[in-house]
Every structure is written in structure tokens, then in C-alpha cells.
């Protein structure tokens, strides 16, 4: 072995190659678990779709101007995104940080905490972008009309998944133990998931809840997906996109700061 002489002269604050290394790590791990991960990420929302679509859908013909299968098939994209992003962000990053010490190993290389967090969340976002489309594709099989706007859905799912992946990482860095995720799931994620306009239109709720839904990123995801499929509303959709970007930026700041506190003594 000889000692290398061609050294990088300067490394920037945010290195694409560092993020690329983190993404490659995730991709390499994913290649071993793609079947089970894909199964759970696709089948779970599909079961919701079938159960609610055939069960509740047989009682209700039209909801908010759409057939129930159209309403549900587009709304449940957000559920798939949530399942494949927030849960991955919480459990995966907790296990890698606490039990496997993978993050310790990575931070001994020229990768900083903010690059690690960004790479992990980007991978979660990419996965969400893909898995988020699954229920919509199933819904097409059950009568949802395909359209060119659907091509935007992976991007919407990516942006939402990126934010929720970061949310999960933030939670994983502030909870005292893995059992504490039960509180996060019950007290935070379940209400967000139920009050996002996925299963029923929100205008049936009291006015004050409508104000609160503006702070629910999943609601913005649901609205964007429906508008992408059934017709874009430029100004409104700009607001929904802005809300998801604000959510992602806020989560990035919180996740990076909390992770740094946990990983750097």
C-alpha cells in the first residue's frame, strides 16, 4: 500500500459527492430489502383503497364532486407517502444511530451531519415519490381516469416524503427511546393522517379545524395530487407547494440541529 498524494484541495459546506455517498449507502441496503419494503409500502395503502373504496364507496356515490374511488384514489397517495417517509425517518434513523452506529461510521469520513441528514431524507423522498404512486395506479385499475397531470404526482410525493422523512429524523433525535415513537404515531401522525382530506372532504368539519388543516402538510399533498389529476388551480397550488417547501425547510433545520446534538459530543 502506498499513501495517496492527490488530495482534495477544498471541501465545500454541502458536497454533492457526500450526499451521493449517503444515497448510495441507502440504495445498497435497499437492494437487499426492496421486496419486503415495496410489499408493505404498496399493499397497505392498497388495502385501505379497497376497503374504503368498496366498503364506504358503496354507500356514497359522489364526494366533493368526484366519484368516491376518484376521491379516495388520489387522497390515499398522501397515506402511502406518510407511511413510507415518516416511519422510515423515525425507525431507520433511530436504529442506524443508536443500535448499528452507522451514522458514527459515516461521520468519521468527510461527511458532515447536515449532509448525512440531507442524503437520508432525499432517499426517503425518492422512495416516497415511487411508492406514493402505487395506490393511484391501483385506483386506475378501479376506474380512475389516467391523465397527463398524474406525471406530477411523483414530484409532489417526493416533496412531501422529503419533509416527512426529515420530520421522522427529527423525532428520532429527540425521543428518549424507540418506544416513544408510539406517542408520535398516536398523538401526531394519526390526526394528521385522518384530517388531511383523504377519506372525507374537510368542508364537513367545523371552521376552526379548516384553519388547522392549513398547518397539516398532508392536506397540502392531498390537494396538490387532486389538482394534478383533475385540474390545476395555479394560485392555490402555488400556496400548497410553498407550504410543503416551508415544512421541508423547517424540518431540515430541526432534524439537522437535533441530529448534530445527538451525534457530536
Amino acid at each position: 500500500m502506498t499513501i495517496a498524494t492527490d488530495r482534495p484541495t477544498r471541501l465545500r459546506w454541502m458536497e454533492p459527492s457526500a450526499i451521493g455517498g449517503v444515497l448510495f449507502h441507502d440504495r445498497t441496503i435497499f437492494r437487499r430489502y426492496w421486496a419486503s419494503t415495496t410489499f408493505s409500502s404498496v399493499v397497505e395503502p392498497t388495502i385501505y383503497l379497497l376497503a374504503f373504496g368498496f366498503g364506504f364507496g358503496s354507500l356514497v356515490a359522489v364526494v366533493a364532486g368526484y366519484s368516491y374511488i376518484e376521491f379516495l384514489g388520489t387522497g390515499i397517495v398522501a397515506t402511502a407517502v406518510l407511511f413510507s417517509s415518516a416511519f422510515a425517518g423515525m425507525f431507520q434513523s433511530f436504529i442506524r444511530r443508536v443500535y448499528q452506529k452507522t451514522y458514527d461510521a459515516m461521520l468519521a469520513t468527510p461527511v458532515d451531519t447536515h449532509e448525512l441528514v440531507t442524503g437520508e431524507a432525499l432517499w426517503i423522498g425518492i422512495r416516497s415519490g415511487v411508492f406514493g404512486c402505487a395506490p393511484m395506479l391501483v385506483a386506475i385499475g378501479f376506474g380512475l381516469d389516467p391523465g397527463p397531470g398524474m406525471l406530477l404526482v411523483p414530484l409532489i410525493a417526493f416533496l412531501t416524503g422529503f419533509g416527512f422523512g426529515l420530520f421522522g429524523m427529527w423525532m428520532s433525535a429527540i425521543v428518549p427511546g424507540i418506544d416513544s415513537f408510539n406517542y408520535v404515531i398516536s398523538a401526531l401522525l394519526t390526526p394528521l393522517f385522518l384530517v388531511a382530506g383523504t377519506f372525507f372532504p374537510l368542508d364537513t368539519l367545523p371552521d376552526w379545524t379548516l384553519v388547522l388543516t392549513q398547518f397539516n402538510p398532508l392536506y397540502h399533498c392531498v390537494e396538490l395530487v387532486r389538482h394534478a389529476v383533475f385540474g390545476i388551480r395555479p394560485l392555490l397550488d402555488l400556496w400548497h407547494i410553498a407550504a410543503l417547501i416551508i415544512f421541508a425547510v423547517a424540518m431540515w433545520l430541526l432534524a439537522t440541529r437535533s441530529m448534530r446534538r445527538r451525534l457530536i459530543d
Binding site: 500500500m1 499513501i3 488530495r7 455517498g21 441496503i29 452507522t102 461521520l107 469520513t109 468527510p110 451525534l263
Partner: protein
């Protein structure tokens, strides 16, 4: 006197606290390039914290750290690109193969695409795992995993390698294998900082030994010089009942010799200076052996290192 930039590692007045506990206290440590230095001390001496300070995985409360000419933590990313770290705790990706583990780290260390495969092959060869390259890590033995950790730390041909307790918990045969691997590094001009609490490991591998206790550096020199300075050439080890051991201690101290308790025996340091009358009086229930770093450490601290 050399400046900080001329050393592979330079630590000046470095202190690290964890709440009320001072893990590293006003540490001054300069390590020239190309040597193997052993950081010797018992558990809790501050060795691992010192390692983490060098990679900026711990931030010092006071003092200055320079690694390979880079100020840490401000330029730590640049420093980490040129150093390899072998942690005490196995943090390999157990669900990946040996080759995949190395491939991931080749990317994290920014090895250019065209050199990546050759770097992985070379690291597998260093780790003596060429034949097990495609075996999943959780199917490898403890010794193989340890070698893979070392190969991972060397995949990018670093100028400096930090080895944190590299052979802890391994059987003697695997330990010997790793020693020759570490010895190879030194002969190739890589600077090696190795923390250990194994006396034999430090004596056999290190050009210099830095002894730490309770976060402080208590002595630093070549192993032979430290032994000669603090423990002399030989040690007489007396065995017997507690009363007998107390008597040995008293008689040795009367003639100005240092003793230390080691389980069921008392060691008299600088035995070559023992007067014949004392040797006669203490009798022949003793064994003469060469002095070692353990004698030095106990003399300096009063506690055992292993």
C-alpha cells in the same frame, strides 16, 4: 520547536467535559508524521474521547487541535478525508457483503470512480478477505469483521489512521494477525494513533507511548525509555501470604526501592539495584522478569492499566 502544522497531530491545552466529568484535561500531544504512537490507559482514561476529538465527533471545550495541517473542528472535513478511523465498536453494515461495505466507504471517501474498484480490491487484500468478498458481514467471524473494519479505514489510502482498541476482545491468534497488519502500516509511512489498554500491544507496535489517566497525559516517550526511566531494567516479583508481602514492601522501601502490588504478589522495581543483603533476606520465593509498561503505569498512577 516544530509548529502545529508540521505534526500529523497537534493538540494543545485540549479539554473536554461531559457535564461534571472531565474526560480530557489540558491535553498537549504532538505526533510527528510516520510513527505509530500508542495511547495507553485504563478504561475511562480519555482515549476514545481523544480519538473523537480528532475527527470532530466530539468538540473540545478548550484548546487547539490540528490534524494533518487542518484546524479541527473548522476544517475537520478536510482532515477526515485524509484519515482512516477504525472504531472500537463494530459498526459495519451487517446486512451487506464485505465488498459492499468497502464500496460504500470508497464513495464516502470520494475515491474517483475509475479508482474505486481497485481500492476496494486492495482493501479486501489488506483485510485478507479476498476469498470472502461476497460474504454477508453477519456471516463473518469476529476476527474477520475486525480486519474488515481496518480495511474499511484504509480503503482511501489515508495518511493517518486512528485505531481505537483495535484488538479488544479478540483471541491471541487473531490479535497477532492484526498486529502484523498494523506493523505493515507503520513501515509504509502511515501515521498510526492506536489506543489500547493491552501493554504487550503498545510495547510491540508503538514507536512512542503516551500514557493517559483520568483524562491527563502522564508520560510520553519510547516504550524502552519509559520503562528504563520509571521501572529500571528488571523486576523481582515476590509471592506469598499477605504478611510476607507486607514485609517485602517494607524492606524494599527501606533501601529506597519502589514496589507495586499485583494480585497475590509484590513487584520490586529496579531489581538490578537491590543490595545482595536484601536479596538474601527476602529469600528465593521470587521470579525475576524484565520491567514492562505496566510497571511504569502503576508506578505513575497507582492503578493497573489492563
Amino acid at each position: 520547536m516544530k509548529g502545529a502544522a508540521e505534526f500529523a497531530i497537534s493538540m494543545r491545552g485540549v479539554t473536554k467535559r461531559f457535564g461534571a466529568i472531565i474526560a480530557v484535561a489540558e491535553l498537549d500531544l504532538d505526533i510527528p508524521a510516520g510513527i505509530c504512537i500508542g495511547l495507553l490507559g485504563p478504561n475511562g482514561a480519555g482515549k476514545s474521547t481523544t480519538m473523537r476529538l480528532l475527527t470532530a465527533q466530539a468538540i473540545a471545550d478548550a484548546g487547539e487541535i490540528t490534524v494533518l495541517g487542518c484546524s479541527v473542528p473548522t476544517q475537520s472535513k478536510q482532515a477526515r478525508a485524509q484519515m482512516g478511523v477504525v472504531p472500537q465498536q463494530d459498526n459495519l453494515d451487517v446486512e451487506l457483503t464485505a465488498r459492499a461495505n468497502l464500496d460504500v466507504f470508497a464513495r464516502l471517501y470520494r475515491i474517483p470512480r475509475r479508482e474505486r474498484e481497485a481500492s476496494v480490491v486492495r482493501a479486501l487484500r489488506i483485510a485478507q478477505l479476498t476469498g470472502r468478498a461476497d460474504t454477508q458481514v453477519d456471516k463473518l467471524s469476529g476476527g474477520m469483521r475486525r480486519r474488515l473494519l481496518i480495511g474499511r479505514g484504509l480503503v482511501h489510502r489515508p495518511r493517518l489512521v486512528l485505531l481505537d482498541e483495535p484488538t479488544v476482545g479478540l483471541d491471541p491468534q487473531v490479535r497477532q494477525e492484526l498486529w502484523s497488519l498494523i506493523d505493515d502500516l507503520r513501515t509504509q509511512g502511515v501515521t498510526v494513533l492506536m489506543s489500547t489498554h493491552y501493554i504487550e500491544e503498545a510495547e510491540r507496535l508503538a514507536d512512542d507511548v503516551a500514557m493517559m489517566n483520568r483524562g491527563r497525559l502522564i508520560a510520553r516517550d519510547a516504550p524502552g525509555k519509559l520503562i528504563s526511566q520509571y521501572a529500571g531494567e528488571t523486576v523481582m516479583e515476590y509471592f506469598g501470604a499477605p504478611d510476607r508481602l507486607v514485609e517485602v514492601e517494607q524492606l524494599a522501601r527501606e533501601v529506597g526501592l519502589v514496589t507495586r502490588r499485583a494480585g497475590p504478589s509484590v513487584s520490586v522495581l529496579r531489581a538490578e539495584q537491590m543490595p545482595p543483603s536484601l536479596l538474601d533476606r527476602l529469600g528465593d520465593s521470587a521470579a525475576r522478569r524484565p520491567a514492562n509498561l505496566e510497571d511504569v503505569f502503576v508506578t505513575l498512577t497507582g492503578v493497573s492499566v489492563e
